[in-house]
């Protein structure tokens, strides 16, 4: 009887003890788990091959100088004197002209839906949107803007590796695959040589068109660059990582 009296409290004591030990162990394990989590490796930064880092850093500094001292004042003037609607119109116009690049890139990746949407957008924007200055296709749900495709992404989708990371003078971050893609884009682009559809295309006009295209895209680029530079411990490293992640994501989508 006496033993029976002790049995129940003993059982309770054992249970409470067990719960306490389990709880403490769990907490301890959780703490270790939290610490282990902080030391996890990232897939995203694995394998950014940068054998030309010293040259790339030099080019990065050069581009930074050009951006800050030439492009920035030019863009500031452009945005100051140009009404927003004109800025948007110029951006739409040049974007519409790059349709053949996007169409070919979609087709080469077997993205027929993307090719269809791009074609619809081009047809609507070139006609209703007056040679692409406006983008009325945005109003149609089935022809809403999609991610822009280029030849560099095509190469990526075909399994071609990125190659070394490169910083191109005036153009910024790239890699060997995307550099080859740039030549591909140019070959398809109807207003750029060698496939230009315009006969007797004087170099001055070519330069002016390319310059206008570049300037119309610059406000956004400059804005992003300034943000990145202002919040980066190492802007070169940040741009390298950001560009690589962005392109890998675009190829994977």
């Amino acid at each position: 009887m006496k033993t029976q009296k002790f049995k129940r409290p003993l059982a309770w004591a054992c249970l409470i003890g067990l719960i306490s030990v389990t709880s403490l162990t769990a907490q301890d394990g959780k703490l270790t788990e939290d610490e282990a989590f902080f030391y996890e490796e990232f897939d995203e930064i694995a394998g950014v091959y940068d054998p030309f880092e010293s040259v790339n850093r030099f080019t990065f500094e050069f581009n930074d100088f050009v951006f800050s001292n030439t492009l920035q004042p030019l863009v500031d003037t452009y945005t100051a004197i140009t009404p927003d609607s004109v800025e948007e119109g110029a951006s739409n116009f040049f974007n519409n002209l790059r349709y053949p690049v996007r169409l070919a890139s979609n087709l080469l990746q077997g993205r027929f839906k993307g090719a269809w949407i791009e074609t619809g957008r081009f047809a609507i924007n070139s006609t209703v949107g007056i040679v692409g200055i406006m983008a009325p296709a945005d109003a149609y749900e089935s022809f809403a803007p999609i991610e822009s495709e280029d030849v560099g992404q095509v190469f990526g989708a075909w399994g071609i590796g990125e190659g070394p990371y490169l910083v191109l003078p005036f153009l910024g971050p790239s890699n060997l695959r995307d550099l080859a893609g740039l030549f591909g884009d140019r070959a398809i682009n109807p207003i750029k040589e060698p496939s230009s559809m315009i006969d007797d295309w004087e170099w001055e006009w070519q330069l002016a068109t390319s310059g206008a295209d570049y300037i119309s895209r610059s406000p956004q680029i400059i804005e992003r660059y300034k943000q990145l530079k202002g919040s980066s411990i190492d802007p070169y490293s940040s741009l390298k990582n950001g560009y690589t992640q962005y392109r890998r994501g675009a190829v994977a989508e």
Binding site: F42, S237, S238, G242
Partner: protein
């Protein structure tokens, strides 16, 4: 079905419902935090605040919902061990200031963005991802918030904007820094970046 197995299923079901609603509650908490931070930046009553004051208020709002140290520790990774205790604390504080500065300054002069939270997905053990779209200056951006259940509760450990992970981006920079530099150099660099901001301390946003 025996009474015992019925009870077991009932308990399991209740646990599942509790887990799902606890995760869903994170969406509300996140939306609340985003709105509170944007209210500080865009509220009419705050137009007289300096950039520095706005950053301080935004920080208060963010920290009342989440432990920002988690995201910064995740971004620092193994480099944490390369610093002494004092350096660790200083780096945590300086990176926090830098990230908040970038957030507030990034919205400078822009219309209030409209942020809509989307689907919540479980992406691993004690990890969730909340999709969101941000419309800023007529452009739409896709942003993912990644949260993990830590000892201190659900915490944001990464934000992925347009395929670019913020934590990974900082990890890449910090890894590159520690290949040649030390904790003291990192602190000096961070102070330098923040000092540039001090010049514009009284700039009105």
């Amino acid at each position: 079905m025996t009474f015992f197995s019925f009870r077991a299923y009932l308990v399991l079901g209740l646990l599942l419902v509790a887990t799902v609603s606890a995760q869903e509650a994170q969406k509300e908490k996140l939306q609340g935090m985003i709105d509170a931070a944007l209210d500080v930046i865009y509220s009419d009553t705050n137009t007289t605040l300096s950039a520095y004051e706005k950053q301080a208020q935004v920080r208060e709002k963010l920290e009342s919902s989440y432990d920002l140290d988690v995201m910064i520790r995740y971004a620092i990774g193994k480099n944490w061990r390369r610093m002494n205790e004092q350096e660790q604390l200083e780096v945590l504080e300086l990176v926090k200031q830098l990230v908040i500065k970038a957030y507030v300054m990034g919205l400078d002069g822009k219309d209030r963005p409209s942020i809509t939270l989307g689907e919540l997905t479980e992406i691993g053990k004690a990890r969730i991802e909340i999709e969101s779209t941000m419309v800023l200056d007529t452009k739409t951006y896709y942003i993912l918030y990644r949260l993990r259940q830590m000892k201190s509760g659900w915490q944001i450990y990464d934000i992925v904007a347009e395929n670019v992970s913020v934590s990974s981006n900082y990890r890449g920079q910090i890894d590159d820094h520690f290949r040649k530099g030390s904790g003291a150099d990192l602190i000096a660099r961070l102070k330098d970046l923040l000092a540039k901001d001090k010049i514009n301390e009284d700039t009105k946003i």
